[in-house]
């Protein structure tokens, strides 16, 4: 018969196996090093080339440019949203003329670059100045800002019409039938049953569209509108200081990231009833 007289003394756990130095870790370290070097370089460039005089001179310009960008984007997104409603319904309607018109509109504005559309409206309509003057519309098309607003509105209307159409068509057929079975009139069914579900589907694409508009709005600088990009180009052409572009890049990144996070929060908030 045997019995235990001594317990095995507690021992330290075996040492963790050494982390292998894989190719992934090698490249990861290299790329992180590159980013770090870039960040340090940018920091040194800002601190080294810091000029309070320039900052005082161009800072207010940047702020007004930011205001112009934000105003342009928000106005055109809202106006485009208004135009997109009839467009989306025309696209879904059974009338072939309406649906073909809407299809052509959307195809044109989604198939050509925003810059070309801007040139077409700003420079292209400028060649009809005599006719426009006769109709009393010249004051509108003379101004680059108005032309940019018009172009952006028409452009985003096409994209938003597609978003809206896709979202409305994504609502299951049973929802229509259920509303009809309850005896709801078509209009009530649309606004109380279909649209709320469609807008949840459309939320993310709408956010992407606004971000695309913020980024796309930089091109109005080419037609002499002094938005954030325009002020940046002006500051760069006067000072030849690469910092000018750096500040603009930071501002654009900040805008986009803020909007992206806001949208992520909005989405989790609005879809919390769908969480299982």
């Amino acid at each position: 018969m045997s019995y235990v007289t001594t317990l095995i003394p507690p021992q330290a756990p075996p040492p963790a196996p050494p982390k292998p130095f894989t190719a992934g870790r090698f490249f990861g370290n290299i790329f992180m090093g590159v980013w770090l070097a870039l960040a340090v370089g940018i920091f040194l460039m800002i601190t080294g080339g810091w000029d309070p005089e320039k900052f005082a001179k161009y800072g207010p310009n940047y702020r007004s440019g930011l205001g112009v960008t934000l105003l342009l984007v928000s106005l055109s997104v809202v106006l485009g949203g208004l135009i997109s409603l009839p467009l989306a319904f025309a696209r879904m309607s059974k009338n072939p003329v309406l649906s073909w018109f809407s299809y052509g509109y959307v195809y044109f504005f989604r198939g050509t670059p925003l810059l070309t559309q801007l040139f077409l409206i700003y420079y292209g309509l400028g060649s009809f100045s005599a006719e426009l003057k006769a109709w009393g519309l010249w004051w509108f098309f003379r101004d680059a800002w108005n032309c940019a607003l018009l172009t952006f509105t028409l452009n985003t209307a096409a994209y938003q019409a597609e978003i809206l159409r896709g979202a409305i068509e994504s609502v299951a057929r049973g929802q229509h039938e259920g509303a009809a079975a309850l005896g709801l009139p078509k209009k009530v069914a649309f606004f109380k049953v279909i649209l709320p579900q469609a807008l949840i589907v459309a939320l993310r694409p709408y956010g992407n569209e606004i971000i695309l508009m913020i980024k796309g709005s930089a091109i109005v600088a080419i037609v002499t509108v002094l938005d954030l990009m325009g002020e940046t180009r002006l500051a760069f052409s006067r000072t030849f200081d690469p910092q000018a572009y750096l500040w603009a890049a930071l501002m654009y990144l900040l805008m986009v990231e803020l909007l992206r996070n806001l949208w992520a929060w909005l989405e989790t908030r609005l879809t919390r009833h769908l969480k299982r």
Partner: protein, 267 residues
């Protein structure tokens, strides 16, 4: 030998001249618009605009493989087990998806110019260096395209079940072969619609390169518009040419899609 090569080059040029869709004997500018401002040769702007069309198309086609390859590796980095690799890939995407394409282009164009200038000056050469606009455009658009592409490919990777990899390993295929024979064919099928959208966005972004002086469709039509004072007509032509490009690529993409789905049709 060189005579033979010259003959080949001449034959190819002649052949391209015949099938040229704009200014060849059966080109639309020659057939229908010979008497207008869009005529070819010295009489009109047809050949200049046709050249711009070629530049736009070749810029987009040259950017595509670069962006796809970079996007693929960034997507791989994003799902790597190594933390630093994931983080650096995410910084890359955040940066180049958040910056306006125009700003990226300017930073690449002017930034490279300053960098190269300083580098060359340090080596003891003082002259002005001009960065090729085509190359700068390709680089900037490639950065943007690869950032978006990595997201599309990442979501496509997530759509492929883990069992597909395991089946590959169980068959004794090593990592690269599994990727090549099992994962990639499925990846292409899943990612194609997203990549098609990115290609359309790339085509439209090429118009921005006209700002730094590349003679693409928009720049050539812009010059024609300024000289002839027929801005509306020429910018309409530019829009139509971009629509033609979009239409052609949608045809190509639908044929690629049916090719990628050929194994599904049989089922």
């Amino acid at each position: 030998m060189s005579g033979f090569l010259t003959a080949i080059v001449e034959a190819v040029t002649a052949f391209i001249g015949i099938i040229d869709p704009f200014c060849g004997p059966v080109g639309i500018f020659n057939l229908f618009l010979g008497k207008t401002l869009l005529a070819c040769g010295a009489a009109g702007w047809g050949d200049e605009i046709a050249f711009g069309f070629l530049v736009t198309a070749s810029l987009a086609i040259a950017t595509l493989p670069v962006g796809l390859l970079m996007g693929f590796f960034i997507a791989l980095a994003k799902q790597s087990e190594e933390k630093s690799l994931r983080l650096s890939a995410n910084i890359y995407t955040t940066l180049f998806r958040g910056l306006p394409e125009l700003l990226t282009l300017f930073i690449v164009y002017y930034g490279m110019q300053i960098l190269v200038q300083n580098l060359v000056a340090a080596m003891g050469y003082d002259g002005t260096i001009e960065i090729n606009a085509f190359f700068a455009g390709m680089f900037a658009l490639g950065l943007v395209f690869s950032a978006y592409c990595s997201e599309v490919l990442l979501s496509a990777f997530k759509a492929i079940p883990r069992g597909q990899y395991e089946a590959g390993y169980a068959l004794g295929l090593h990592h690269g072969r599994t990727m090549q024979l099992i994962v990639l064919p499925q990846l292409i099928r899943v990612a194609l619609p997203g990549l098609g959208n990115l290609w359309m966005a790339l085509l439209k972004d090429t118009a921005l390169v006209s700002v730094i002086g590349l003679p693409d469709i928009l720049r050539q039509t812009g010059i024609a518009a300024r000289v002839t004072k027929e801005a509306f007509q020429f910018y309409t032509v530019a829009c139509l040419l971009f629509l033609v490009l979009a239409f052609l690529s949608s045809l190509v993409f639908s044929s690629i899609e049916s090719w990628a789905k050929r194994s599904e049709v049989a089922r």
